[in-house]
């Protein structure tokens, strides 16, 4: 239940403090969220399989977010930003789906 509480705290903090993203970082926010989602679902799956590791989770979370944002930044500089965003979302989307499917199997045994 602690992770769920963490999510709620994060959402409430976002609403309460009304943080605004700097204009230059705005294009990278959605991609960063997808990358974070991927890391989080990977972590949850690892917990369910009993192989969770703090270090791996933290590193994968931060690296995912930074690399995803960097790829999109690079794409923007090269004029193919939207295509690279699509590529990032496809790859991370596949991983999220497969991981969530595994989590579902662990929970419902179906």
């Amino acid at each position: 239940m602690i992770p769920l509480a963490g999510l709620v705290i994060g959402i409430l903090a976002g609403l309460y403090f009304d943080v605004t993203v700097p204009l230059e970082l705005q294009p990278y926010l959605p991609i960063a969220i997808v990358a974070a989602l991927d890391a989080v679902f990977g972590g949850i799956r690892a917990v369910m399989e009993g192989i969770f590791n703090d270090k791996v989770f933290v590193v994968s979370f931060i690296a995912n977010v930074l690399i995803a944002a960097f790829i999109v930044f690079l794409g923007d500089q090269l004029g193919v930003g939207s295509q690279l965003s699509t590529a990032v979302i496809v790859v991370l989307g596949i991983r999220i789906f497969t991981n969530v499917a595994t989590i579902r199997r662990h929970i419902f045994h179906a």
């Binding site: 239940m1 602690i2 992770p3 769920l4 509480a5 963490g6 999510l7 709620v8 705290i9 994060g10 959402i11 409430l12 903090a13 976002g14 609403l15 009304d18 943080v19 605004t20 993203v21 705005q26 926010l29 959605p30 960063a32 969220i33 974070a36 989602l37 890391a39 989080v40 990977g42 972590g43 949850i44 799956r45 690892a46 917990v47 369910m48 399989e49 009993g50 192989i51 969770f52 590791n53 703090d54 270090k55 791996v56 989770f57 933290v58 590193v59 994968s60 979370f61 790859v91 596949i94 991983r95 497969t98 991981n99 595994t102």
Partner: protein, 268 residues
């Protein structure tokens, strides 16, 4: 394909497996079953929640800014439109006042009467006053299915020019398109796929009304260069057109402001 295969087969970070294998090799027990208490995971979820809320709040804010800007522009357009039509009304009122004053001045003498009749016929020809009479209406519309890349299956400015010229050639005495009177100073031209007549944007279908002998006008028009042009583009590009005769048509007054030309001394 191996990249995609990997993606499907091993969606979990390989790091977890490696770390667990190392611990097993070192003789430690792998992390206890289901460690929901990990502070790292909780922190990660806090970050995720924060990111999500920031993104949602941001999107909402920009959406409201954009829509309020657009609302402002729309209001401005409506205001200016209203101002233009108010000024147009003023112009019409002043013009009718002028012609009333002219009439009252000219009515008094025989030469005045004659001048008045002359002025009236000249005004009708130049499109300065609204005219009524029998005539034909030529309706021209874009082709039903538009897939030509160069836009030839839409009505072009040159098509309307040909139609108007054909109608003049067939003996039309006054012409208007979609309520815009064609005067000697009218331009029918296209800007960005929009046909402008008297600098007003027009939309298809175009109704070209012409006053003249309603029995012969339609026939003469069909045999004029404009009529032949129309039937040729109808056959080639699928442009729709229809010619119908009417017993009574009313064409509105046009606007012919003369900026440079003034009646000369020797004008009779």
């Amino acid at each position: 394909m191996s990249l995609l295969n990997d993606l499907f087969a091993k969606p979990l970070e390989p790091g977890y497996e490696d770390a667990a294998a190392r611990r097993r090799a070192a003789g430690e027990k792998p992390t206890s079953e289901r460690t929901w208490r990990s502070p790292a995971l909780a922190l990660g979820l806090v970050a995720l929640g924060l990111l999500l809320t920031m993104a949602v709040v941001e999107v909402r804010n920009t959406a409201s800014v954009v829509s309020s800007e657009r609302q402002g522009l729309i209001e401005q357009i409506h205001n200016e439109d209203a101002r233009v039509s108010r000024l147009q009304d003023d112009v019409t009122a002043l013009e009718s006042e002028i012609s009333e004053l002219e009439d009252s001045l000219l009515q008094n003498s025989a030469t005045g009467q004659q001048t008045r009749e002359e002025v009236e016929s000249l005004q009708a020809t130049t499109g300065a006053v609204a005219v009524t009479g029998p005539g034909v209406v030529v309706t021209v519309d874009d082709a039903e299915e538009q897939n030509a890349e160069d836009g030839t299956d839409r009505v072009l400015d040159v098509d309307l020019q040909q139609v108007v010229n054909g109608l003049w050639a067939a003996g039309a005495e006054a012409v208007s398109i979609n309520g815009q009177r064609i005067t000697p100073l009218t331009a029918i031209r296209q800007a960005q796929d929009i046909i402008q007549i008297n600098y007003r944007p027009m939309n298809a279908p175009y109704e070209v009304s012409a006053l003249g002998d309603s029995r012969s006008l339609a026939n003469d028009f069909a045999h004029s260069a404009g009529g032949r042009w129309l039937s040729s583009i109808a056959g080639k590009n699928g442009i729709y057109y229809k010619v119908s005769s009417h017993d009574s048509l009313t064409l509105p007054a046009g606007n012919t402001p003369l900026s440079y030309a003034t009646p000369g001394e020797g004008a009779s």
